[in-house]
């Protein structure tokens, strides 16, 4: 969580810091004395997949039969629908993203942070709300009928802890002990044993919402730079990877060993799949944002026909804006909105727009009353969005207003995130929600897909 401070210099130095981080990561991976990556010069068996005609290659195919997972790719899992879950980390301020500029109490509760009455595009389904100017890309997509808005989504007795509330959203129930994610449980039911790409985190570590009990899932920070270098090359490296793979398949007597083997197994499959993923061309321009980079790579993967089902990614920015909210929030929302718009255009250019749906969520909204550090503390109901050509484009639950708040002075929820999950599972994935979301029958089924 970032605690954005009020000074320009702080933000600048932070920017420099992250720029240095990027530079550090962007340095040529192969330094003096490093051998060529394993597999260089190997005969590859390539195949063309996807609407973009992207060449995909698998190393070592001449000697060994093509790995099983490739069959899945060859069968072009193109008919499968994909859900891309974008997380706004820290508790995004719903009342800034869709600002209730025409509600009288808004300016009273937010003397510093309130948006001016005239700023931003009015939200056509409830014109008392205005899109934040930084979210103009979302306003544009909404005008095209491609955004379904949940203006006040949450659950009863909202937990104001980041970790507990985020956990509830990740596991799809109000249980602190659940160890599988809601998308993970879906993958356990429909996924296969040899395709870790079916649940993909675009990050350093696996997104908890994708945590499965049995089926393999993957985490990849960048789709173009996944390889395991070593100081051995062909033919020795082939044998080395064969042994590494075997270490992933041996017997385990303890949970830690089992986890280790499972991760090694999945790593080998991803290595075989992505190590040759070439530079790709995006048909559209993406903004300079980490999310944009990740989504452009994701679109290329989808374009190549990779068998993805559930994808999770964390958006740029830190939304835990206890102080100096404007500095962090505006830039983060702009980067996120612009990246999503570019992704949608990319999908449209590749003809994939009917297969992909984006879900945007945060662990909670923030308190309607600002806190005096030009920030906001943890609140309850927040905002969630579904974006895509197949999104219904119709608001789910109304904006509850600011006159009647909950006992903690927080926004009341008018929709439940578990109802969203149930509808997504049934309407988007065409699967029964009961086995995935506990107590599914208790929840409404808002129409989310057209």
């Amino acid at each position: 969580m970032t605690d954005p401070r009020c000074c320009q210099n702080y933000t600048r130095s932070n920017l420099l810091r992250s720029a240095a981080a990027q530079a550090g990561r962007g340095l040529p991976p192969i330094e003096n004395g490093m051998p060529l990556p394993a597999g260089t010069g190997l005969t590859r068996r390539g195949f063309i997949a996807g609407a973009a005609g992207l060449a995909l290659a698998v190393y070592g195919a001449g000697r060994t039969p093509l790995p099983l997972f490739e069959d899945g790719i060859a069968q072009a899992a193109q008919s499968d629908r994909v859900l891309v879950s974008i997380f706004l980390d820290g508790g995004a301020d719903a009342l800034s993203l869709l600002a209730p500029v025409d509600h009288p109490r808004y300016h009273e509760l937010r003397p510093v942070l309130a948006l001016d009455a005239g700023s931003g595009t009015p939200f056509s389904e409830d014109p008392s709300l205005h899109w934040h100017p930084a979210a103009s890309a979302l306003a544009q997509l909404h005008a095209e009928g491609k955004v379904t808005v949940f203006p006040a989504v949450g659950y009863d007795d909202a937990n104001q802890s980041h970790f507990t509330s985020r956990h509830f959203w990740e596991v799809g129930e109000l249980e602190t002990d659940t160890r599988t994610g809601w998308m993970g449980r879906y993958l356990d039911l429909v996924g296969t044993d040899n395709n870790p790409l079916q649940g993909l985190s675009l990050s350093n570590t696996l997104a908890p919402a994708l945590a499965t009990r049995e089926k393999p899932v993957a985490a990849v920070e960048g789709v173009t730079d996944y390889d395991l270098w070593s100081h051995a090359s062909e033919p020795v490296s082939d044998e080395m990877f064969r042994s590494f793979k075997r270490m992933g398949q041996m017997k385990s007597e303890s949970p830690a060993l089992r986890d280790s083997r499972r991760a090694i197994r999945a790593t080998n499959i991803i290595r075989e799949t992505l190590s040759s993923f070439e530079e790709f061309q995006s048909p559209v321009q993406y903004p300079e944002a980490r999310l944009g980079e990740q989504l452009s790579g994701l679109a290329a993967l989808l374009g190549a026909g990779m068998p993805l089902r559930c994808v999770s990614v964390t958006a740029d920015g830190a939304y835990d804006t206890h102080s100096a909210q404007v500095e962090e929030f505006d830039g983060a929302v702009k980067a996120t909105s612009d990246s999503i718009l570019a992704f949608q255009r990319d999908l449209e250019a590749r003809g994939l727009q009917d297969r992909v749906l984006v879900q945007v969520w945060s662990e909670f909204g923030r308190r309607p009353e600002e806190n005096g550090s030009a920030g906001t503390d943890h609140g309850a109901a927040g905002v969630a969005l579904l974006i895509g050509s197949r999104a219904s484009g119709q608001m789910v639950g109304e904006f509850p207003g600011l006159t009647s708040l909950d006992p903690d002075d927080n926004l009341r929820h008018t929709s439940d995130f578990r109802a969203m999950y149930c509808s997504l599972i049934e309407q988007w994935f065409d699967h029964e929600a009961g086995p995935i979301i506990p107590g599914a029958s208790r929840f409404a089924r808002p129409v989310l897909i057209k």
Binding site: D3, N159, T205, W229, K251, P255, S260, S323, G375
Partner: protein, 512 residues
């Protein structure tokens, strides 16, 4: 090699075991018992290949043990576990040395080091050979601490600092100077030798923390709940246990008001101080107790709360043992903690001597522990920036925890972090691998010689039998690729490199 006292006082029994490749893809364990007088040097035959070390046998999983002291065998494997979990893995030969002390002495030798810590070996430099700048250069704070983990002769102190860095997780992303994070590190490092009360007080007024969790923005006119909430939820009491209410958080936030600092474009946040003018002096009710509470009172109310000791014990235990303690053990640790006025060290020492610590299942090493133990085994100093992005890639960059809850210890391994750990090995071997193409490598090397050589490079880590068998099988497959004479040396060199890569990337070295 197991060393065991024989029946006759003056005679010592050595049991030498070696894995012998029968040549048909079958590997057999052969045991040879050697008896000789104490003090007598083992007969020195030809300095031929060393026997492979006894592979680690899978342990039977044991259920939670009653509270007490571990009485079982304390050999090389147990000493290695102790060094892996209470430090950063063994230096070559260190586990054997520790095993000879016996369990209790071994634990105390780590937890009660004498004098100041010494750092031995070359000073840390970046990839260009320039001394690192931990206060100023991005990522060099990570290198600075990693270096201490690798070189310090008091690794337990560094490990406890890491435990508390995760416990009171503060990140550079919310702090204006790296120096303030390193100042906080010294506070955390000294924490283990005091009470938890003390540590909580010091952290509450710590400049990095006052920035990170908005303590410096919390004033009587506009209370900011950020620190009050995490103090209760993450540092002392735990969420969803009925320990506190939202109202307690709001009242505690008021009691914590009064800390201020100044901002300067060059200095960042500085001049941290308590200003009574900014403090809310009206009565507050926290946990049902009404008073004119201030920041010290909030800390005291939290650590004397009836649900604090159990939270402390559970959390501390989880850093060292992967399965929850039995009810009895938990109660005994709580008692020990309270009887010692919430001193931290006695509880840690009890955990490190507990049967569950040695008999329980393995844990996955945190990425930075894996990295440091790899460098310690190789004797590799800090001379690369790569550890920063590799640490990040493996899911743990020091001074940059993902959030105030610290790192998620249950999700260290996935396809992204396994790759980063693999690359850590590749980078560590940068100066320890063998050149393949300059014909410098030997022309002939048996499978056993090759495997021995690779194991010796890491100080003979104990490997599971199945992994050792796989290494031998892999090494055995390579000579068949040599079609022409010119290929022999390069392929054998690369075989050695592949063995080095696989040993350190195997699950054995990921686990503790």
């Amino acid at each position: 090699m197991a060393v065991k006292a024989g029946k006759k006082k003056k005679q010592v029994t050595y049991r030498r075991q070696r894995w012998v490749d029968t040549g048909e893809g079958v590997v057999r364990l052969r045991t040879k018992v050697i008896r000789r007088r104490r003090g007598e040097k083992p007969p020195r035959k030809d300095p031929g290949p060393r026997p492979l070390p006894r592979p680690q046998q899978p342990k039977r999983p044991a259920g939670p043990q009653p509270f007490g002291t571990y009485k079982g065998k304390f050999g090389r494997l147990e000493a290695t576990r102790l060094l892996n979990r209470a430090g950063f893995g063994p230096l070559p030969g260190q586990a054997e040395k520790l095993a000879k002390m016996g369990m209790k002495k071994a634990v105390l030798s780590l937890t009660r080091p004498r004098g100041e810590a010494r750092l031995t070996g070359p000073e840390p430099v970046d990839g260009d050979g320039i001394p690192i700048a931990p206060f100023d250069s991005w990522g060099h704070d990570h290198l600075w601490w990693l270096d201490r983990m690798v070189r310090s002769n008091q690794p337990f102190r560094e490990r406890m600092a890491l435990v508390f860095h995760d416990w009171f997780a503060t990140s550079n992303t919310g702090v204006s100077q790296q120096r303030q994070m390193i100042d906080q590190y010294w506070t955390l490092r000294s924490g283990v030798n005091g009470t938890f009360d003390d540590l909580t007080l010091k952290i509450t007024r710590d400049p990095a923390m006052l920035q990170w969790l908005s303590g410096g923005d919390n004033t009587k006119w506009s209370p900011n709940e950020n620190y009050a909430r995490e103090l209760m939820e993450l540092f002392t009491l735990g969420a969803d246990r009925g320990a506190y209410t939202e109202q307690d958080i709001r009242e505690a936030a008021r009691a914590l008001t009064g800390w201020r600092y100044d901002w300067d474009d060059d200095l960042g946040a500085h001049n941290f101080r308590f200003d009574p003018e900014y403090h809310d002096d009206d009565p507050k009710t926290i946990f049902g107790q009404k008073g004119n509470w201030g920041w010290r009172d909030v800390c005291r109310l939290c650590v004397t709360h009836r649900l604090h000791a159990s939270y402390f014990v559970d959390k501390l235990w989880s850093y060292f043992v992967p399965a929850a303690p039995s009810k009895d053990t938990r109660q005994a640790l709580i008692r020990l903690y309270l009887e010692n006025d919430r001193k931290i060290l006695p509880v840690v020492e009890a955990i490190l001597q507990h049967p569950d610590f040695y008999r329980g299942p393995p844990m996955i090493k945190p990425p930075v522990v894996f990295n440091a133990s790899l460098l310690r085994a190789l004797g590799e100093p800090i001379r690369s920036d790569a550890w920063v992005w590799l640490g990040d890639g493996a899911g743990q960059q020091l001074f940059l925890p993902p959030n105030v809850a610290g790192w998620d210890d249950e999700r260290w391994l996935d396809t992204s972090t396994v790759r980063a750990r693999w690359l850590m090995v590749t980078y560590a071997l940068e100066t320890h691998h063998h050149e393949a193409w300059d014909d410098s490598y030997r022309e002939k090397e048996s499978t056993r010689e090759a495997v021995n050589r690779a194991l010796a490079t890491y100080g003979w880590p104990a490997l599971r039998a199945d992994h050792q068998g796989e290494l031998i099988a892999m090494a055995d497959r390579i000579p068949a690729y040599v079609q022409d004479e010119w290929q022999a040396r390069p392929y054998l060199a690369m075989r050695q490199n592949a063995l080095l890569q696989l040993i350190a990337s195997s699950p054995d070295l990921q686990l503790s």
